[in-house]
Each structure stands twice: as C-alpha cells, then as structure tokens.
C-alpha cells in the first residue's frame, strides 16, 4: 500500500523541480542547436535562454513567470494500491498544486473562462488536469507534472487519407510559420504531433508526444521515426529561428504518436512545447520511496499495443 502522504510529497516535489530546473535532455538539445545556428539574433536568444536556465537553478526561482497550465499525468502499476484510493490521490495532487503555487511561487494562472475568477492557487474546475494510464506487472505509480505554455503553437486539422504525407507536411509547415513569426510559440520547441484517433484522442496524443517524450527519443515504428526526422529537418530549414528571427532553430525534436482512426479520415494535431519545457517525473514505490526519473516513459509498449489482449505481444 502506498501511503498518501508520499504521493502528496512526490507531487509537490516534482512541481517545484519542473518550475525551476529545465530537463537535461531539453537543455542539451538547445546547446546542440546553438552550435548550428548562424543567425546572430537567434543565437543570442538561445544564449540568453541558457543563462536563464542557470539563473533559475542558482536562485531557485521559476525559469519562466508564465506558469502555463500546471497539470499531472499518472501512470499506475496494475498492482499498485494507494491509501485512500484514487479520490485520495486526486485530492493529494490538488493540494500539492496549491502548496507549490504559494511556495515557489508560481503565477496563479488558472481562472474561470468566463468570469475570470482566480482562486490564486492554480486549482479550480477541471484544474489541474490529471490524465491516467496503466502499466502491467508493476506496483509503483509514476507521477509526472507538465507546465506547458498555452496560448500559441497548437492547431488541429481534419485531413483525409488522400492528402497523404504531403498533407501532413503542409499542415506542419503552416503551424510552424503561423506561430513561429515573432516567436509566439517561444521556439525552438519540442513539436508533438498526434495522427489519427478520434478528434479528442488526436489532440491528447499530440500533446503527450510533445510533453512526455524526451529530446532524442524516437518512435519504435521505423516509418514513423523517419517521418519524425524529416519533419524536424523541414522545420529547421524554414529559415526562421528563435523569436522568429532569421536562423534555423525551430524544432529541438519532433515526436509523433498515432492512434487508429476513422477509415475515411486522417486527423492531425500539432503542439509546441516551448523554451521553458517544464516537466518532472517521480516514481512512488510501494514502500514509499520517491525516485526522480529523467524520462516520464509514458509511451510504453503497453500504451502502444496493437493487439486485442496485451499477453499476445509477450513471448511464449
């Protein structure tokens, strides 16, 4: 049984860590991009961002004042039991969000969409979102928090099978150009693409591809991995860099996730996880141990299964 107090502590600790410490894979990705950047201004922007990551770590202050929308992803092992059950878990995550908002401090970004009421703690109706997934043969829970900037860099379009790879490339370019100008998307970004599924699944997959896969990770399907590489290359050859200045730094990495979709359609979503790509993961073990993990490892083989029963994939 996992003690609920350990769940709250892990949720709080990762919220602090995400707000202050840029993930290593992303920082290394930016450093690598900078070595290829020929645009003076774009180069300067990347340099300032690298200094900003240092300043945040040294002073223990948030890297970006725009908290984005802080939220959680929980992967529960099939054998995990949580003290108080899932209601207690959701309560603990809301409590951790409110505490971290006051302590770090994070900007209280969450408001009612119509009357704009702000509870000043990033908690409210349907906030923070908590997405769940499951993992066979495990008794731990993984909690990941993501603080993603929200206003620019995302779009959705219903394409059709006949539009093919050209259609995917065009829509990708459309989004990069539309939100890349003036750097509205705060690029270079991890660009996540959802392909297929129902409309809502398409959005969710793309968002999770951007926020829950590390820079350098490739989709296990070689055909999809090749498309990821091609789109990344394409984004970086628009001629645009950081802040929309002349340059090449647009896409730190491109991640694609797919879902089986309507036979007549090919929905596509694009999401940009910005220069303050804030994510942190902790595993809470059955004995209460909290272990920070650099990779959320959200898209497991189980998540991407293509068979009726999970066991069919297992070796005999």
């Amino acid at each position: 049984m996992i003690a609920i107090e350990r769940v709250e502590k892990a949720a709080y600790d990762i919220m602090v860590k995400a707000g202050i410490e840029i993930p290593q894979d992303y920082e290394q990705g930016i450093r690598a991009m900078q070595t290829h950047e020929k645009g003076d201004l774009s180069y300067f922007v990347l340099e300032a961002m690298l200094e900003n990551y240092d300043a945040a770590r040294e002073d223990r202050r948030p890297m970006c004042a725009d908290t984005g929308l802080p939220r959680y992803y929980v992967k529960a092992g099939n054998e995990a039991r949580i003290e108080g059950g899932f209601i207690a878990l959701e309560t603990a995550l809301r409590l951790a969000t409110a505490r971290a908002t006051q302590d770090i401090p994070l900007r209280p970004n969450r408001v009612h969409p119509i009357n704009r009421q702000d509870n000043n703690n990033n908690v409210g109706i349907n906030a923070p979102e908590i997405d769940f997934s499951f993992e066979p043969d495990a008794d731990w829970i993984d909690i990941t928090t993501v603080h993603k900037g929200g206003l620019f860099g995302t779009d959705y379009r219903m394409l059709f099978p006949g539009d093919g790879i050209d259609g995917i490339k065009r829509f990708f370019l459309d989004v990069m150009i539309a939100f890349g100008k003036r750097g509205l998307a705060c690029q270079p970004a991890i660009v996540g693409i959802g392909l297929g599924g129902s409309k809502d699944t398409c959005m969710v997959l793309g968002k999770q591809a951007a926020c829950l896969r590390t820079v350098g990770d490739k989709n296990p399907d070689p055909e999809i991995a090749a498309l990821e590489a091609e789109l990344k290359e394409m984004g970086n050859s628009i001629g645009m860099g950081a802040m929309g200045f002349v340059g090449s730094s647009m896409v730190v990495d491109c991640h694609i996730e797919v879902g089986y979709t309507h036979t007549g359609g090919m929905p596509m979503s694009v999401h940009s996880f910005c220069l303050s790509s804030r994510r942190a993961t902790a595993r809470v073990h059955n004995d209460g141990r909290i272990e920070f993990r650099p990779d959320p490892a959200w898209f497991t083989p189980y998540m991407r299964r293509n068979t009726v029963a999970w066991q069919e994939l297992m070796p005999a």
Partner: protein, 226 residues
C-alpha cells in the same frame, strides 16, 4: 565554435529614459534598464482607460516605461511580496488601449512579448514618440526576476488579483531586452519577416494542397496573424 552574436550592441539605460537616449536607439540593440518600471495588462487598462481611474502616487512621473506582464509573485502572512520571475505577455492584444495609455501616462517605452504590427507603430507609437522593447526568448523569466530589486508598490491587488494588478518595480540591470521598434517606427521583426518570407514559397512548392480547404482570414504565409 565562435560566438556569432559578437556584432550585437548592448546599452544600459536609466529610467525615466531621456529623449536623446530614445532618439539614438537602433533596432536590434540589447538593452538593460535601471530605475522604476510599472506593469499593466487587461485589468490595468480597463481601470485606467475605460473606468477613468487615476494611477495613485507619482509613479508616472518617475517612470516612462511600462511592461506587459504579470509576475510570479506571492504575498506572505506579513504582507511582504516576493517576486520569483517575470515574463512578458503578447502585446498585440493591447493595441487598442495604447493611444489613451500614452496620452494619460507619458509612457515612452513599452516592454512586452512579440512587438506590435507595423501599422500600430506608424499610427500609435510614432505620434506618441514611443518605442518598443521586446523581452528575449521569451522565457527569460528568471533573468528578469533577478533584475527586480524590490516591489515598491502594488495597486488594485484585491480587485484585479496578482496576475492583473499594477506592480511598481524597482529594477537594476533589468534585461536582456531587444530594441524592436525605433522612433521612426522601424521594426526588427518586420525586417526579419521580410527576409524569411522570401523563402516560404519554395517550402510548399512540391506539396499538393489538402482536399478540404478551410475558411480563414488569411492563407497567405507572408501575412502575420497579429
């Protein structure tokens, strides 16, 4: 690897920024500020412009710089403010408030995210002898937070909340900022966009358009959405 930003000029300016300093600023210059700056966005504009409320005290006499942002701040039990980080918000949304804002406050510098459209510079900024500094990144919240030495005051905190209140900030070596527009209305973003736009048709050359098109205000990739 040689640094490629060697050609970029840097200047440090004191607020209120003097006319001659404003006149000599070139787009693409990196700027750091010392003095007092005030924050403002939807909530502040509504109170000052639509509701016609006066800005308390003499801050507008001591500062001609206003910042489109809201800080990541919190207030402890003793009523002390702590500002962790500060990041600009996209400025184009506030264009309609700026003519009155300039007239009422003698503001000469707007700091924000992303700049304004060339038309806004021509029609609003140039007549007000005002320029625009953009923050960098734009996520340099920790660096900008370091430059805030103290919170001198905060207005309408109860009514508007932390994110929308007007914060009066004492800053030192506050930056980096980039000069995006000058007194003539030249714009760094516009200059860069022109160069990038020249390449855009080539990107789409071999890609057939999708079978179902979409309504939209523009489909021209040279246009901007702001």
């Amino acid at each position: 690897m040689a640094r490629t930003d060697a050609g970029i000029k840097t200047r440090r300016l004191t607020v209120p920024i003097l006319d001659e300093d404003l006149a000599s600023l070139e787009i693409g210059t990196v700027v750091y500020l010392d003095g007092v700056i005030i924050t403002g966005r939807e909530g502040v504009y509504k109170r000052v412009i639509e509701d016609g409320e006066e800005i308390p005290g003499d801050v507008t006499a001591r500062s001609n710089v206003s910042f489109h942002c809201s800080p990541a701040a919190s207030i402890d039990e003793q009523g002390n403010y702590s500002v962790g980080a500060v990041t600009a918000t996209a400025s184009f949304r506030f264009a309609k408030s700026l003519p009155d804002w300039f007239a009422k406050t003698d503001c000469r510098v707007i700091i924000g995210k992303g700049g304004m459209s060339p038309k806004h510079y021509r029609d609003i900024f140039v007549p007000a002898k005002a320029v625009y500094f953009t923050t960098v990144g734009y996520g340099t919240g920790a660096l900008l937070g370091r430059g805030i030495k103290s919170v001198e005051d905060v207005f309408w905190l109860d009514e508007l909340g932390i994110a929308q209140a007007m914060w009066v900030l004492n800053v030192e070596n506050f930056g980096p900022l980039l000069v995006e527009s000058d007194l003539k209305g030249n714009s760094l973003f516009e200059q860069n966009n022109k160069e990038i736009n020249a390449n855009i048709d080539r990107l789409y050359e071999d890609l057939k358009p999708p079978s179902l098109s979409r309504y939209g205000e523009t489909d021209n990739k040279r246009d901007e959405l702001i």
